[in-house]
Symmetry: C2
Subunit: 125 residues, 2 copies
């Protein structure tokens, strides 16, 4: 499964990150066709959000080392022991607090994704 050519794996966004009503919150706007997957999600206080760092230029996927926390005073190390956005598959992973659900829109705190980022998955946190 997973399709694609030459060993690639094809993912389809389940929704997108949207602006929140204030600076503390963001919205995970889930595609209504996946609404059934949200049943009882309001019982969770924390969720993991997996998203695609869509604004990262393609060439950054080839950078395999980065400064920890972007701090140039610290020596570079491999990206697989960091949460740097530079990595072959720029998947962001953030634990967020679910403030409330409004239909297929999840109002969350702590999501450090840019607006417009495709959301790949949501799991209990």
């Amino acid at each position: 499964m997973g399709g694609g050519t030459a060993g690639t794996i094809a993912l389809r966004p389940i929704g997108f990150v949207r602006r929140g009503a204030d600076e503390q919150t963001k919205v995970i706007a889930v595609d209504p066709k996946f609404a059934e997957g949200l049943a009882k999600i309001e019982e969770q206080e924390y969720l993991w959000g997996l998203y695609w760092m869509h604004e990262l230029p393609e060439e950054m996927r080839a950078r395999l080392q980065a400064h920890p926390r972007g701090d140039r005073n610290r020596a570079k190390q491999g990206v697989f022991s960091l949460h740097s956005p530079f990595r072959p598959n720029p998947i962001g992973m953030t634990r967020v607090r679910l403030v409330r659900r409004e239909g297929t829109r999840l109002i969350v705190e702590g999501l450090d994704a840019r607006e417009g980022s495709p959301v790949l998955d949501i799991k209990s946190g």
Copy 2:
């Protein structure tokens, strides 16, 4: 970025899950072309492993509800508040303990991925 047609996102495996020397361990065999990304990873005790549940039949991606922990005595709920493998993008996410590094092979404990699973990303845990 991310390419693909019709809004799909194309990922390339960075390695594969392999059998460990004993029942407690598995190996994340990273493709040697990404070796630079492993620099200093041996300083981490815990890592997040993201992998693709490649053995899941394609039709399972359409199942949006499941029993919590697969327990049929519990009512079904939406997959986005579970860690069920049934989900539109079957990405597994496990926190593992790094036992040791052998070149581009990471010997880890606690990885519940099947052997042969494509590994999508590794992050500090």
